[in-house]
Symmetry: D2
Subunit: 334 residues, 4 copies
């Protein structure tokens, strides 16, 4: 950590600060410039309150040199993490298609969708059982029954399944789920993250609507700090001033997350855009940007979907998109 002292700082003030820093078990390396003095702080600076330091009268600015995330940091783990569920692999040069309805509705629906997306080449089935809804009066999902139906679809097709958890108290219901999803609104529900860190299930962690990539990685770090290293990062759009699409899909996050972390990165163009007609071009763009996977909403009857029908492809549209994704993937990796 680097601390720049203001011009006019007296020797006594500087010594007082250095004594305080050393009392925090830090080495302090002093470097005098013409106009300013720099203190290099060496040791476990993770415990220092940067904001407090920056607020002192004699301090011009403070800058962290090393990132506070360790376990998800590529600097310390250069090799890609690869996550394996059933026959699907995510990360490390593998490309993965996740598809399925926003909400699980009936056994017929989920099995039909599962069969069709499998036929089109999907590797994993998605489906919502617990649904976070902005309004308490909206449909909240089939909950435990929804998970049971997903497991039926898994049995029928062999596809591994991913579904969202909203409360660690329901973890028992997820015993046979292959990948547990944490939604964007829970990205900083730290108690939930810690509980998931104590399991060995792969976690698909969605980026919050207004969270920086560093905060995103810190949330992955919460899970990893409890022991679970199997995390898939999912970008699903951020909130900006424009409203023509539901959120703004931030595809530059793909190369940036790959640079900062060894964890795989998946893109969800359905929630990001909120409109069927923007899903195929943005899914293809995600593939071209180097994403390790794409997660797409597919419904056998979007007009009657119980939620988010507006952003669901029908199975024919998905089959067409899946074919194009394979071609683009090949083009960028050859």
């Amino acid at each position: 950590m680097i601390t720049v002292l203001k011009q006019g700082t007296t020797q006594a003030q500087m010594e007082h600060l250095i004594a305080w820093l050393r009392a925090q078990n830090l080495d302090v390396h002093i470097s005098h410039g013409h106009d300013y003095t720099i203190l290099g702080l060496i040791g476990d600076t993770g415990k220092i309150d940067m904001d407090l330091l920056a607020s002192l009268d004699i301090v011009e600015s403070v800058k962290r040199v090393t990132e506070p995330f360790k376990q998800c940091n590529r600097q310390f783990h250069p090799d890609d993490t690869v996550i394996t569920v059933g026959n699907a692999k995510i990360g490390g040069g593998n490309f993965c298609m996740i598809a399925g309805p926003c909400s699980v509705e009936t056994e017929e629906q989920i099995i039909e969708v599962a069969e069709k997306v499998k036929a089109a080449g999907a590797d994993i089935l998605r489906g919502g059982a617990f649904k976070p809804r902005t309004s308490p009066y909206d449909f909240q999902g089939l909950k435990g029954e929804g998970i049971r139906l997903l497991l039926e679809a898994k049995k029928a097709t062999g596809l591994p399944i991913v579904t969202e958890i909203m409360n660690a108290n329901y973890l028992d219901l997820f015993a046979d789920v292959d990948i547990i999803q944490v939604g964007a609104r829970n990205m900083q529900n730290f108690d939930l993250l810690k509980e998931l860190g104590k399991t060995d299930k792969p976690i698909l962690l969605k980026r919050g609507l207004a969270n920086t990539l560093k905060e995103f990685l810190m949330s992955a770090e919460y899970i990893m700090s409890e022991g679970n290293q199997n995390i898939i990062l999912c970008e699903r759009g951020i909130r900006t001033f424009d409203t023509y699409s539901r959120n703004t899909l931030d595809l530059t996050a793909v190369p940036a997350l790959h640079e900062m972390s060894h964890l795989p990165v998946v893109i969800d163009p359905s929630h990001a855009t909120g409109k069927v007609r923007y899903v195929p071009p943005m899914a293809l763009a995600a593939v071209a940007a180097g994403a390790d996977g794409v997660m797409v909403e597919v419904h056998n009857d979007p007009m009657h979907a119980w939620c988010d029908g507006a952003q669901s492809l029908n199975p024919e549209q998905f089959a067409d998109l899946a074919q194009k994704m394979r071609v683009v993937r090949e083009a960028v990796t050859q």
Copy 2:
């Protein structure tokens, strides 16, 4: 709900849509203009998926006429909600000062701060026991012990206390807490909101960093829909492109929330700005804007605070600010 049909919609297409809408138990009122046809949908439109409707080929746009929040809506409850804890009243023309440290650290610390902010005129004591931190390696609060110390400070001074909950599993620990705070990161932790809705404790609900006022009110509605009507709304800064202050304090939310809802509105300038020197002017601005209360961080020794020292006033600074807040409050309400 109003649905505008595109030019070129055929009679058959329109009739098909109207049949579908009527099957959702809605009355449909048709109005033909020169260039477009408007469908007025009457009935329980809360169950209609606006996004789905908007995505149909023949639909130009969809607009909700009535807000989906009911219980917190001033339209249906014109009178201000007033929340009473101990001798303090929040809302309905009362002005309330909430003060205390970011984190509870020791019995001496919290009692000293409590006595000093009480002497300066504070009505309620705040202090963090469970701390949501971006990093898993940062201090996470004294938890149950922190609440015990807050209760000691309450006994010593008579001040009611407010402290944050992060997980409904710990609700038992909050039995003697006067107001339970929900932090910005948990504003859309819907399972937590529902559990709090089953209690009768006043809830201080903080606005999420990137949540609209309507989403904020929908989260209040989550709590109210379970029976608990005692909610205090707290604006604490939103995330924008500028970084000179930690967040951007959105003071226009004060008149806007008062217009939309009967719930009281409190401002937290400490977390919004993140810098001691911006807290007094923004606290005074909050009072002038008509806030029902201001929540300020005060620490007896900010240089040694375990977290967020940079944004804490010392007791003398708070006493000076409290005096000025009273004068401004008088100026704007006389």
Copy 3:
């Protein structure tokens, strides 16, 4: 335009409003619902102040049904606009690569870059002569001399050139320039747009950092309303809360602008990301999303570039990227 009246509006109030609207030469079509009354306004509603209408006591909300942009609106001009400069075509199924240095520096530099990007397949040469810089103390470009050097490079290679204008007073200097660029900061410099509307030069209009797509199209409309129909829209990143890349490249703008307008859409990943290593993946993503062209900064010696070296590819990197862009383009259009 649709105006929804509040519950409780009296007949007299409604008639007063309708009289005022009719005085603005509008037909008013009244539709009574159970809970609200809708006024459909028919005629030249472009002259009505929506904000004023919305602010009236009896008005619940106002909604525009037709967009205020006409000439750039695909609804009225279904066919793609194709812009031809030299041998290059932009729009209408053609794909175009624009490349060159941020700033023109010397004759040797610009000719060397021009030859190399041409060899790699670029269709148009870019280069800055007038440079908008945040600081008055930064290099402001070679101005007229820079344009002269670009014209030398055009003569040497046959590539058409695009360069930025900052002030209509200098239009004479652009007489032999093929495409005039309007920078993001000048997107709403309406006097400049109107002057460019009086020329017949193709205009490459960059989206402002915080402008919606509708505002972007209204700025195109400013140029078109004066007679010039030759406009290329360029997305170059918007400003959001995250700072890991210079701006957030909004690729969903590609399908959205194609839907709303017949004008071609070009992506500038260099300014959007600000970092060389993010340029290739985002350029490929732009192609996959369906962009009509990509504009990339290329410099023969990025370490010594006078400005924006950090985001410039060297000619070898560009040649490699150009090859990949062609393959992806083929993959998505086959």
Copy 4:
């Protein structure tokens, strides 16, 4: 400027970089830590491209220690700038009320408004002659005739006037105008700023919708670098994700700009909020936050205003607000 080198940088790489930096006329001060090496760059670092430096393979990060704005920087000019026009003073402990219609419409209108706001205590008359409008089809102002009418109102009341310029070619028309306004959309129209820097007129510079405070001060610096030191900074709302008010009024900018700069700071709550009912509370909040002035739209007949009627107070509302502003100002400065 501080440059942190990555772990693993070789001695040869470091020496190569240092040689390059010295060739830019900088002194380089080297400081070796355990995990990283810091280079302190001393000299005229304003000419160094931070982004380029940061993009080098061996560079971890770069940080500027001194701000690039000099003339508007309070560090170098501790005393408040005070601007005097007629009997009005802005800055240095003086409080100033600026009021008037969005657009000048007729001689009767502007004189009536001027007389009424003067009677209520306004110090300066505002009124738009050149109007920047998002749509080319909207009313663009009376232009030169508008300025003539403002001068009539000045003659009738003695109030100094402020009005917006959009194009330096019209500077002659502003010869008798007291303060020239630069609108938010032109905040980075650098050619316009430079031309205004060559005059000696006070400039009221509005912050752009998505510009940081540092960019805002750099735009002031553009004017000052040409010789004109008479600048008033005006915050008028920034663009965020929420839409309940037109923009988000960023009042923390008041203490922050006062800290960074000696220039006076004025708040425009009318354009920021876009709604009459939010103007009085936000005007009072601005006063409480320490603003040097408030600029408010007032119209004698808001229902018939040619533009922005929704945000205009009528003269009686303004008189009431002016009285309250005086009381709050007294409360916070006593």
